[in-house]
C-alpha cells in the first residue's frame, strides 16, 4: 500500500490546479489556462489510479485511510477513506474531469480560466464527498460543491440560465440543510462524534431512525434526483454548458445515490427496511413515468436529462432490494451511466456547437454529413437503451435479476424501462441522424475533429469494456457490498 496520502492528493490536486488556473487571469492567457487545466486534470487522474491498482478487493472495510484532527472543539476530523463502494467513483470523477476540460477546449472562449477552474475545483470537492468518513467533512464538501456548479450554469449557460442556476442551488440547499440537522442529531446521540463509521454502529430506536431516514431521503432524493423532486435537473441540464451537463450527469447525480449507501442504509437499517417500499415505489415511478416523459421531449438535452432520472431510478431501486445483486447492479449502473450520459451530453454538445440548436426537429439526416459521429453516437444511444455488450445492459440486467427475486411485478415494471429506454433513445437517434438532410444547417455540418473523436472513442472504449468484461469493476465491490448487507440485516433497535 502506498505511503502517499493518495486521497488527499485526489482532492487537493484539482483544487490547487483550479486556483493556479484562476491565477492566469483574463482571456489573453486562455491557451495557458487550458493547458494548465489539462495538466491538473491529468495529474488528478493519475493519483487516483493507484487507488484501483492498489485496492485490496478482499477487504470490505476502509482503505487508504487518513485521519487528522480538524476541529477538536466539536471532535470533527479530517477523516478520509475509500471502500469498494466509493473507490470507483473517485477514479470515475477524476477521469470525467479530463473529458470535461477537453470538451470545453475550443468551445469556451469567454472567461476560460474561470471556466476550467470551476470544473477542477468542483472535481476536487466531489472527490472529497466520496472519500469523507466524517459527517461534517462530508457535508462541507457536499455543500461547497454547489458553488462552482451554480457559477458554471449561471455564467456559461443558456438563455434561461439564471432561473436554472437558482433552482439548482436552492433545491439542493433545501435538502442538505435538513441533512445538516440530522447530522447534528447524530452527533448528540452518539455522545459527541461525527464519525460516519461510529454512527454505523450507533443503536437507535425505530422512530428516530425513521426521522433520520426521511431527512437523508430529502437530501439525497433531491440530489439523485428522484421523482417528485427531480424538476430542477432538466432545467439545469438544458441551460448548463456541455461540460456542466457532463459533470452533472456523470458525477453529481451519483452523490445522492452514494449518500444512500453511506448514510441511509447503514445508519438507519430498520427504517430502511420499513420504508423500502416507499423508495421502491418512487423509483418505479421514475423508471416508468419519467421514461414516458422522456419519450415526448422535443429538446435533446431534456430527453437525456429525463433518461438520466429514469436510470437513477434503477439505481435507487437496486439499493432498496437489500440483495448483493441489486446493490452491485446499481453501482455498475451508476458507473456506466457516468460514461454513457457523459458521452450523450457530449454528443449533443458537438451538434449544438455546430448548429446552435438542441431541438430534435432542427435535425435530420446528420449521418450524411457526419458519418463518424453518427457511428459513435449510435453506440452511446444503444448503451443508453441498455443493449447487451454495452455497459448500460450489465447494471440494468443485474437490478432486474435482483428484482425478480424480490417481487415479480416490481421486476416487470423495472424491465419496462428496457422497452421505454430503447424507444426514446432510438427514436431520437432516428429523427436526428437518419432520413434525408433536413435543412441547410445540417448540410453544412462538418464531421467531428480529432479532439472530439478522441473523447468519444475513449468513452466508447470504456462503455464497451464495461459491457463485455465488467468483472474488474464488480470484483472490487463484492466485499464491501457484502459487509454492508450483513450490517443492514442486523437490527439497531435495542
Amino acid at each position: 500500500m502506498s505511503t502517499y496520502p493518495l486521497l488527499s492528493l485526489a482532492i487537493w490536486i484539482p483544487i490547487v490546479a483550479g486556483l493556479v488556473v484562476l491565477a492566469t487571469g483574463n482571456d489573453r492567457n486562455a491557451p495557458l489556462a487550458r493547458m494548465l487545466a489539462l495538466v491538473g486534470a491529468i495529474a488528478g487522474f493519475f493519483v487516483t489510479i493507484p487507488l484501483w491498482t492498489g485496492f485490496d478487493p478482499a477487504n470490505g472495510g476502509m482503505q487508504f485511510v487518513e485521519l487528522h484532527n480538524w476541529i477538536p472543539r466539536f471532535n470533527i476530523n479530517y477523516h478520509l477513506g475509500v471502500d469498494g463502494i466509493s473507490m470507483l467513483f473517485v477514479v470515475l470523477n477524476a477521469f470525467i474531469t479530463i473529458i470535461v476540460v477537453a470538451a470545453g477546449w475550443e468551445v469556451i472562449e469567454n472567461k476560460v480560466a474561470q471556466y476550467n477552474a470551476a470544473f477542477l475545483i468542483m472535481s476536487g470537492l466531489m472527490n472529497g464527498i466520496f472519500t469523507s468518513l466524517d459527517g461534517v467533512l462530508f457535508y462541507v464538501f457536499f455543500e461547497a460543491s454547489l458553488i462552482p456548479m451554480y457559477l458554471i450554469i449561471g455564467v456559461w449557460g443558456g438563455p434561461n440560465r439564471v432561473y436554472a442556476a437558482f433552482k439548482f442551488f436552492l433545491y439542493t440547499l433545501f435538502g442538505s440543510l435538513l441533512f445538516l440537522v440530522a447530522l447534528m442529531y447524530l452527533f448528540v446521540q452518539s455522545g459527541g462524534s461525527f464519525s460516519i463509521l461510529e454512527w454505523h454502529k450507533l443503536p437507535l430506536g425505530l422512530s428516530p431512525q425513521i426521522w433520520l431516514f426521511l431527512a437523508f431521503l430529502v437530501a439525497f432524493a433531491v440530489k439523485v434526483p428522484m421523482w417528485p423532486v427531480h424538476t430542477w435537473l432538466p432545467d439545469a441540464h438544458v441551460e448548463a454548458p456541455t461540460g456542466g451537463s457532463i459533470v452533472l450527469a456523470a458525477i453529481a447525480l451519483k452523490l445522492g445515490a452514494y449518500g444512500f449507501l453511506r448514510f441511509s442504509l447503514p445508519i438507519a437499517p430498520d427504517a430502511s427496511h420499513e420504508l423500502s417500499s416507499l423508495v421502491i415505489a418512487l423509483s418505479l415511478i421514475a423508471v416508468v413515468y419519467i421514461g414516458f416523459v422522456a419519450l415526448v421531449q422535443a429538446d435533446m438535452k431534456k430527453l437525456v436529462a429525463y433518461s438520466s432520472i429514469a436510470h437513477m431510478g434503477f439505481v435507487t431501486l437496486g439499493f432498496f432490494m437489500f440483495s448483493a445483486m441489486g446493490i452491485e447492479g446499481a453501482l455498475v449502473q451508476m458507473i456506466s451511466h457516468g460514461f454513457v450520459s457523459g458521452a450523450m451530453f457530449f454528443c449533443i454538445g458537438v451538434m449544438y456547437d455546430r448548429v446552435h440548436s438542441r431541438q430534435i426537429a432542427d435535425y435530420g439526416g446528420v449521418v450524411n454529413t457526419m458519418p463518424k459521429f453518427a457511428a459513435l453516437f449510435m453506440l452511446f444511444t444503444m448503451a443508453n437503451a441498455g443493449l447487451p455488450a454495452t455497459s448500460g445492459f450489465v447494471g440494468e440486467f443485474m437490478v432486474i435479476l435482483g428484482a425478480v427475486k424480490l417481487n415479480f411485478w416490481v421486476a416487470f415494471a423495472a424491465a419496462s424501462s428496457m422497452v421505454l429506454g430503447a424507444a426514446y433513445s432510438l427514436w431520437m437517434y432516428k429523427r436526428v441522424i437518419f432520413g434525408d438532410v433536413a435543412n441547410d444547417h445540417v448540410k453544412e455540418l462538418t464531421d467531428i475533429n480529432g479532439r472530439e473523436f478522441l473523447i468519444l472513442s475513449v468513452l466508447a472504449i470504456c462503455t464497451l469494456w464495461m459491457g463485455i468484461y465488467p468483472q474488474p469493476f464488480t470484483d472490487v465491490m463484492h466485499a464491501s457490498v457484502n459487509d454492508l448487507l450483513r450490517h443492514v440485516a442486523i437490527s439497531k433497535i435495542q
Binding site: I71, R73, A144, V162, F174, L178, F187, V188
Partner: protein, 492 residues
C-alpha cells in the same frame, strides 16, 4: 468626609482609561492640525487602538477581577471581546479613511474622536457589572453614534436617519432603564453579581422581576436590532454615511452580545426559563422578517440591514439554549457558540461594507445592488472576495459563516430544540436567495460600464486580507472557536 474613600484598583480598567485620555487628547490636538487630510489624527486614532490592545494584553490576568466597588469587571470574556473590538474598529477606521476624505463635511477630527468615544462606550459595556455602568457605556456609545450618523449634515437622508435613530434609541434606553429600575426594586441591588445572589436566595418578588425582565429584554432587543424592535435598523443603515453604517453594523454587535451576557446570563440566569422563551420568539421573528424583507431590497445597504436582523436572530438562538429545564450543562457550549457567531458575523459584515466603501468614490455611493452588475468582468479578484463574503453570510462552507451557523445549530440541537433548528435552517434557505442574487449580479450580468475598479492600494490590500480571513477561518475555525469557549469557561 473622605475617610471611607479607597482608591480603586485602576489596573483592570487601564485600557478604558487610556482610550479616554487619548480621545480627549486627540480632540485637543485636532485644533492644532491644519492639514485637511488630517493624517496625524487618523494615525493617532489607530495608535490609540493598538495601544489599548497592547495594554489589554499586558494587563490580562485571566482571572475575574472587580473594581470600582464591583461596578466594573475584568474577565477573560471581556478581554477577548475587547481585543476583537479594537481590531474591528481599527479595520473600520482604515476602511472609512478614503470615504471620509472624499466627503468634505465628514472630514473632521470629530469623526475620529467620536469613534473613539463610541469605542470607549463599548468597552465600558463589555466590562460592566452594574446597571449604572451598562447604562453609562450604552449612552456613551449611542450618543457618539447619533452624532456620527448626522455628520454628513447636508444630506437629508442622513439627518433623517440620525433623528430616527436618536428618537428610537432614546425610547429603547427608556425601556431598558425602566426594566432596570423594576429589577432594582425587586432585588435591592444594581450590581449584576449582587442581583444574581439575591435571585439565587429566592426571596425576590417574582411578578416585579418578570415585569422588569420584559422591559429589559425589550431594551436589549432594540439595541441588538431584532424583530419587533428592528424598525430603526434599515433606515439607519441606509441613511447613515456608509462608513458609519459599517461602524454601526460591526463593533456594537460585540458590545451588545456582552451586555446580553452580563444582564441575562450573569445576572438573571435563575430567570432563564422566562427570558429564553422571550428570546426564542424574538429570534424566530427576526429570522423570518429579516430574511423575507431582505429579498425585496434593491439597495445593498438596506439588504445588509435586514440580513443583520436575521443574523442577530440566529445568534440569539445560541443564547436561548443555555439552560434546559433547569440544567445548565449546555450553557458553555451554547454561549460560546453565540460568541463565535458574533465574531464571525462582524468579520464578514466588515468585509461586505468594506466592499461598498471601496467601490464608492466622491459623488458615487455604490450602494445599489445594480452597481455590482458585472463586477466579475471589471475585477475578478474583488468579485471573488465578494462572492466569498456573500456565501459566508449565507452559511455555505468553506467559509466562516458556515461554522458560525454550525456551532449555533449544534447548540440548539444539543439542547433538544429540534423544531427550532429546523425553523432556523429553513429561514437560512430563504436567506440564501438574496445572497445568491448578489453573486448573480456580479457574475451572470453584464456591467453597466466596463471601466476597471478605482480603488487605493491600501484599500485593496485590506479588503483582500479581510476576504481571505473569511475563507481561512472557514477552513480552520478551531482557533477562534476554542478561544471563545475558553474565555467563557474562565468567566462564567
Amino acid at each position: 468626609m473622605f475617610d471611607n474613600f479607597v482608591v480603586p484598583d485602576l489596573l483592570p480598567a487601564a485600557p478604558e482609561i487610556f482610550v479616554a485620555v487619548m480621545a480627549l487628547a486627540i480632540l485637543l490636538i485636532d485644533l492644532l492640525v491644519k492639514d485637511s487630510r488630517r493624517t496625524a489624527i487618523f494615525a493617532l486614532t489607530q495608535l490609540t487602538l493598538v495601544g489599548a490592545a497592547v495594554i489589554q494584553f499586558m494587563t490580562s490576568t485571566g482571572e475575574v477581577s472587580y473594581t470600582f466597588s464591583n461596578m466594573f469587571v475584568d474577565d477573560l470574556m471581556s478581554d477577548l471581546l475587547k481585543l476583537f473590538l479594537y481590531m474591528t474598529v481599527l479595520v473600520v477606521m482604515f476602511y472609512s479613511r478614503g470615504y471620509v476624505l472624499d466627503r468634505e463635511a465628514m472630514n473632521k477630527g470629530e469623526y475620529y474622536v467620536l469613534a473613539l468615544f463610541a469605542t470607549l462606550g463599548m468597552m465600558v459595556m463589555i466590562s460592566a457589572n452594574s446597571f449604572v455602568t451598562i447604562y453609562v457605556g450604552l449612552e456613551l456609545l449611542s450618543l457618539s453614534l447619533y452624532a456620527m450618523v448626522a455628520m454628513n449634515r447636508d444630506s437629508v437622508v442622513s439627518t433623517e436617519a440620525a433623528m430616527k435613530y436618536f428618537v428610537l434609541g432614546a425610547l429603547a434606553s427608556g425601556l431598558l432603564l425602566y426594566g432596570m429600575s423594576m429589577i432594582y426594586g425587586a432585588t435591592g441591588s444594581l450590581e449584576i453579581t449582587g442581583i444574581a445572589e439575591r435571585l439565587y436566595a429566592g426571596d425576590a418578588n417574582k411578578t416585579v422581576l418578570v415585569f422588569g425582565l420584559v422591559f429589559l429584554v425589550s431594551g436589549l432587543a432594540f439595541k441588538l436590532g431584532v424583530v419587533p424592535f428592528h424598525m430603526w435598523i434599515p433606515d439607519v443603515y441606509h441613511g447613515a454615511p456608509t462608513s458609519v453604517t459599517l461602524f454601526i453594523g460591526s463593533a456594537p454587535k460585540l458590545a451588545a452580545f456582552a451586555i446580553v451576557m452580563r444582564l441575562l446570563v450573569n445576572g438573571l440566569i435563575t430567570l432563564a426559563q422566562d427570558w429564553q422563551a422571550m428570546l426564542i420568539i424574538l429570534s424566530v421573528l427576526s429570522m423570518a422578517i429579516g430574511n423575507l424583507a431582505a429579498i425585496a431590497q434593491t439597495n445593498l445597504k438596506r439588504m445588509l440591514a435586514y440580513s443583520a436582523i436575521s443574523h442577530m436572530g440566529f445568534m440569539l438562538l445560541g443564547i436561548t439554549t443555555g439552560v434546559v429545564s433547569g440544567d445548565a450543562r449546555y450553557a458553555l457550549n451554547a454561549y460560546s457558540s453565540a460568541m463565535f457567531y458574533v465574531v464571525a458575523y462582524v468579520l464578514t459584515t466588515a468585509a461586505a461594507f468594506g466592499m461598498i466603501l471601496m467601490m464608492a468614490h466622491a459623488g458615487f455611493e455604490a450602494d445599489n445592488l445594480d452597481d455590482y452588475k458585472g463586477l466579475n468582468r471589471r475585477s475578478p479578484w474583488f468579485a471573488g472576495i465578494m462572492l466569498m463574503v456573500m456565501f459566508s453570510m449565507a452559511g455555505i462552507p468553506f467559509f466562516v459563516g458556515f461554522f458560525a451557523k454550525f456551532s449555533v445549530l449544534q447548540a440548539v440541537v444539543a439542547a433538544g430544540y429540534m423544531w427550532l433548528a429546523i425553523v432556523a435552517v429553513l429561514f437560512s434557505l430563504i436567506g440564501a436567495f438574496y445572497y445568491l442574487r448578489v453573486v448573480k449580479l456580479m457574475y451572470f450580468d453584464a456591467p453597466a460600464d466596463d471601466s476597471p475598479l478605482q480603488a487605493t492600494t491600501d484599500m485593496r490590500i485590506l479588503i483582500s486580507a479581510n476576504g481571505l480571513a473569511v475563507a481561512l477561518l472557514g477552513l480552520f475555525p478551531q482557533v477562534i472557536m476554542s478561544l471563545c469557549a475558553y474565555a467563557l469557561l474562565r468567566s462564567l
